[in-house]
Amino acid sequence: MTTEWKLFADLAERAGDKHVTVDASAGDTVGDALEELLDGRSELTERVQTDDGELRSQINVLRNGTNVLVEEEGLETELEAGDELALFPPVSGGCCSQ
């Protein structure tokens, strides 16, 4: 099974595509899917992770429109079949903090 990432703004430019399908399925975590996404994409990796491999604080990760970092279990959140993941930089005021 695969899961689709949607990328926005400069993140899409760095990844070279707005849509990336990765090898991750129900039972895997959002973090697993992120690892698959970043694998072989150094420019994108540099933009979204610190040197220690931590997600940068201003990067948003959404699962089906919900911010996993705020309302779910962060990168430990488990995927369900058919999930849509999204990765994006801050919106002008710091999107999705509610």
Partner: protein
Amino acid sequence: MHVLGIQNRDATRETLERVVDRVVDRLSREGRIGVVRYDATIADGTHATHDSTTLGGDVTYDLGADGDWTASGTGLSVGDALDRLAPTCEFAVVVGVSRLRYPTIHVGSDGEPDADDAGTVLATVDSPAELESDALVTALAEAEPHRTLESLVARVKREPTADRSGAIATFTGRVRAKDDDDDAPTEYLEFEKYDEVADERMAALERDLEARAGVFAVELYHRTGVVETGEDIVFVVVLAGHREEAFRTVEDGINRLKDEVPLFKKEVTVEDEFWVHDRP
């Protein structure tokens, strides 16, 4: 208001007119419809074949019975005409204008696609019989609507609760050329939207603000794609009982829209191009 372009690609004048007739007829079943035609023979505010005695007048309205009218004038662009239709029409059809940013039908199939056309081509037909008009209505309804401040104000005034409203407050965000005298002038902004999520959040925000005491209706609208310097980007319109809650809700509405709705802004100046969140 949803806008549809109809462009002649190598068909006869008569075929084009029959396609326009068919489309206008179908759309008029859905709501009030405006038609904008580009005709280069119109000059100095009069039509070449019009027998009006007004020559070179700025604007002339000829009024008839029951509010029927004709008009002529100067200084009106296609965009201006659409802005004027937006408050009262559900649909507009624009005939004979290329490089529209709206969905378009091509009549005839002259093979060369115009690289400058920003809108999607919904259909290419050689005759009115080839039009799948129900599919056309569906596709058009899904396309991004043309909204103006006036059209949103007109919409809230039509709300059933409007007779209890003593105040409408609005906010308009627009593309500023420069923030400081020394800045490189901005040419345009380009907005990218996380479609489904942005639409959901805008709708949720409208409902949330409408639940406030004394607030009857809230309309939020944000353009996407390229928005040039001086053009409007975003509108917030609030219909309320009194001015206090109208003002407060407009301010909270624009602030929360900017915080909560996934829209990304790229700025293109005469010197540079950058995503706005990338700048300190």
